[in-house]
């Protein structure tokens, strides 16, 4: 099983939908709400997003080695099956 980690915001509806997507598929995932995180965590999220050539646009979903920025169930599914 690929590891799923996502960065989210507590204010973002697409982040909620992304979480729901994985929950409904019974796929375990970890998430961090950027806006609720402490300063050090926030900094490391910023650096992680930038290292992938992205901005802090949420949800930021890591499926194994791959990254999907935004709510895109089709992409999530195809990466999970890959």
């Amino acid at each position: 099983m690929k590891k799923v980690v996502m960065y989210t915001l507590s204010t973002c509806p697409w982040c909620m939908r992304a979480k729901t997507f994985f929950r409904e598929k019974n796929i375990l995932f970890e998430y961090i709400d950027y806006d609720k995180a402490d300063e050090a965590t926030r900094k490391s999220i910023l650096e992680d997003c930038m290292s992938h050539g992205e901005k802090m646009s949420f949800p930021f979903v890591k499926i194994g080695e791959d990254v999907v920025v935004g709510y895109d169930p089709k992409k999530y599914s195809s990466l999970l099956d890959k």
């Binding site: 204010t11 950027y34 806006d35 926030r42 992938h52």
Partner: protein, 115 residues
């Protein structure tokens, strides 16, 4: 101020900004209500109605470009998606916002360099 009242004020003020840019409020009323409510909370907490779906760094120059409507500062990217990042606004010709997908910054830049 009462949340609903502030949400209505946002609607009126932001409509004037997005209209000349070729955008309208999303026809998905549920999303619009949710996002506007978040923006009222963000204004109370942080002083400005920031985008509920993009991260703030605390640097003024960065964060002010994320105050709603942030379309002017991300125009090409949003035009390519035909919506703004959080989906509060869509291009005027969009009837079904569910057909649209979010394109990340990296994907957008890659497609622009190709085209």
């Amino acid at each position: 101020m009462d949340t609903n009242k502030r949400m209505e004020q946002f609607r009126t003020m932001f409509q004037r900004v997005i209209d000349p840019l070729g955008y309208k409020f999303s026809p998905d009323e549920e999303i619009v209500d949710f996002l506007l409510e978040q923006e009222v909370m963000l204004e109370k907490e942080k002083g400005s109605p920031f985008c509920p779906c993009q991260g703030l760094t605390g640097e003024r120059e960065h964060d002010m470009k994320l105050v709603c409507p942030c379309i002017p500062f991300h125009r090409e990217h949003y035009d390519a998606m035909r919506r703004c990042w959080c989906g509060l606004y869509v291009h005027k010709d969009v009837d079904d916002p569910d057909e649209l997908v979010q394109i990340s910054k990296k994907e957008f830049e890659a497609s622009r360099n190709k085209g």
